[in-house]
């Protein structure tokens, strides 16, 4: 059971405490669900209004919150960020001591750093190197010549093919497959011949990848995911893509081969991106959008639709589509007159 005093929580999130500094907080919850031993937060005016009727034992609130009640509050400039930090402290699991399960099958030529936790039925191939303090969940399969940086966490059941490089503090959720062959085949006479996929995958520091997502190895060279990028579940990243730093990619989105994505781009869910498309820095791609082969989405531009167009144009098209009946009627009226 987690447990911190309100004073400890205020310290963790750098806020100013008002009220009972000794109250013990054992969990966190939403404003409407939180009880007297729980922490909640309010970030915007609407939530602040709701906060007034919350039973939460402690509230993280904006600096401008007008306290006129029995609440114990912690004032901060960014309540959501402060709450996230408080959560991390409250729910922090004690770091397990380094431990290699006796059933982990680690090739004698592989190196595992100090303080790693290697789960049951893990396999690690020849010449691979796992940095210090990594956690490799049960049933993960790591190929040959793989490198994983320190403090990374692979949840149970992740597969990493040969020669992939993964940075520090990376989190891979269960079912991720990193480094499977890119999809490259050439029709030769009456059948497809495989274009050997001899490249690799390079994943930067602080990347997180969701459950059952796939990042394919490059045909030649490397498929790259830049540092700090966050990828949701069931995402497909094809061979030779180059995804920038601090990019956000929502669930079930797919990138065809050789797509480039600039830093800080935000890509919605179920987006499809055609081969060699270029999504520039800070572009925003709406959910379900379809980016055509070689299409270029300009820096900072929000796009939407299939095929994707600048948001303004997309909305205009939609509005006009909805008024087509009207248009038709106007034409009928004109015809009657003429």
């Amino acid at each position: 059971m987690p447990a911190l005093t309100t004073a400890q929580i205020a310290a963790v999130c750098g806020g100013k405490l008002e009220g009972d500094s000794e109250r013990l907080i054992t969990g966190a919850n939403t404003l409407d669900q939180a009880g007297p031993a729980e922490l909640a937060f309010a970030a915007n005016p609407k939530a602040v209004e709701q906060a007034r009727s919350s039973r939460a034992g402690c509230l993280i609130v904006p600096e401008w919150f007008a306290a006129q009640g029995p609440w114990t509050v912690i004032r901060v400039s960014e309540p959501r960020v402060a709450f996230a930090r408080a959560l991390a402290a409250l729910y922090q699991k004690p770091r397990p001591q380094g431990f290699i399960d006796p059933t982990a099958r680690i090739d004698p030529s592989a190196r595992v750093g100090p303080d790693c936790v290697i789960g049951a039925y893990v396999t690690i191939g020849a010449h691979s190197e796992i940095g210090r303090a990594c956690s490799i969940g049960a049933g993960c399969h790591i190929g040959e010549e793989v490198y994983i940086g320190e403090d990374s966490m692979l949840h149970a059941g992740v597969t990493v093919y040969d020669r992939v490089r993964i940075g520090a503090r990376v989190v891979l959720h269960s079912g991720c497959v990193i480094g499977a062959d890119g999809f490259g085949f050439t029709l030769t006479a009456d059948h497809y011949e495989k274009f050997p996929q001899v490249g690799t995958v390079e994943i930067g520091d602080d990347v997180e990848i969701g459950a059952n997502s796939c990042v394919d190895r490059a045909a030649l060279g490397a498929t790259r995911i830049g540092e700090g990028t966050k990828i949701d579940n069931l995402v497909h990243i094809a061979h030779n893509c180059s995804i920038g730093k601090h990019v956000v990619i929502a669930a079930q989105t797919g990138f065809s081969g050789s797509v480039t994505v600039g830093d800080y781009a935000v890509i919605g869910g179920q987006v499809g991106v055609g081969e060699k498309a270029q999504i520039e820095a800070k572009a925003v791609v709406g959910g379900k959008a379809g980016i055509l082969v070689s299409q270029r989405v300009r820096a900072g531009e929000p796009v939407w639709g299939i095929p994707a167009r600048p948001l303004k144009q997309h909305l205009k098209n939609l509005a006009q589509l909805n008024r087509l009946g009207e248009l038709r009627q106007e034409i009928q009226a004109l015809k009657r007159k003429s």
Copy 2:
């Protein structure tokens, strides 16, 4: 090999047998493929017509079927349901005796009910509880403090994260990941900070979830799947979704955070649902539809398209789109006249 007499099959499906009651049936097949030792069924007039030329050894037919041939038939009110029951009886595997594979790594503090079958290379974490008569396939990884109700079946290679609760008679197909972190990150200065996902997942009784589907844990509270709900392959259910009872969700559909779905809703394949959308009871969402952020789909309403609209309006828009060329010509004609 399964084997039942036609009389036994008639008893299983509560139908009225006409013809040879002692014929041995060893399997089931489609009307056109079934042979003399196989069962087939016909539910609608078209299939009934085909049934006349079927070689099946026994036919399940509607009560109004006009038998004028050599067939052995079983008359029932709902042929499809009766056939499903006959199949279940015909292909029923003998329940294996309770057995815990010696390689299953079960934490000493976990409890496994009687009559469970626990496969090879399974891991079960501390304080978890597996109800009686569950079947946990090879290579499943079950975290700490997980609860699984009786008679549930996890096929090989399922992953369940810590603190997830799963009901009775639940079926999870291979590659399912239940309880991975929700996708919550906040841009803070120049990088994304993770919003800790400290909630859980609660799955009701009689739920079935397809291969490689993902149900994320809640940020706070629980992501919920109501009893009797059936979910196909490669579906994504994000943090804090609340899916009702007896909902059907086809393959590759994705729900963003905090979506609610009412009881008996039917959701097609490859649908995308924006954050906080509300799909009310018995709504029907067409395949590939896009439900916008916070959009509300009314009870019983069929919707279609991207963005999703009432089916009638969607069809009207499509028809008008197809007649745009015509519209343009009418305008040209008017211009020439004016």
Copy 3:
């Protein structure tokens, strides 16, 4: 480290060598990245132009390449195909000797052919048969009565349910699930009853299936994938589909039940195909297209859009949609005049 002389490479790809026949090549790369010990290729005029400034130690070029420089070149009729063959030779791993890991749990009634490599923590069920020289990666789970033809390769973490048949030289990438239950439920009174899925899956020779893809077993009969067909990551193939030979299916595409696809069809990514649709031989379905229930896509026809239409009509509709504003203005002008 791979290493072949330029003469050896020329022999492998059946080309005509000009220049240094003894140069040692240890890898391959793109034209702009390749160094003096690496092979690169140029297939079209633009690439040939780039090739002139490449530092590659050896270039595979079209027969019409006008060599006027220090390059060592290999002239061939199809540079891409020749390069693929050279890659296969260069990066060929020495075939490991047959080896069954002592932790592989193989039922005594199962048969494993000679020269197979069976990884750690694999399970193989009763009466299954694995052909000669197969490679079954760590943590694969193979059910009962499964048949796998010779020289097939299952990467780590593949699951194959009972009674599935897989041909020779098949490649299944990590996370594939073959033979999970089809999605068949019937609403009976107030809940869904499962329609038992008692059929199976049959996968032809030389098929390759990407990471985390799912092929469901048939309700009755078999779900079929024809020989030579190539399937990308995260694809869903529902019960009773019949996919032809030498079909190409890009990532995240989904097929509903009982779809048929003809030989040599090419299906883009994120396509959704409704139940019982028929995609005929050599049809081309554009990325993100939606094929309606029972829709028929004619042989050789390219279709696009949601719902999918012949490409020409789709492009016309898109163009007209973009000119709707113009149309509206023309009508306004007419109204002012009238």
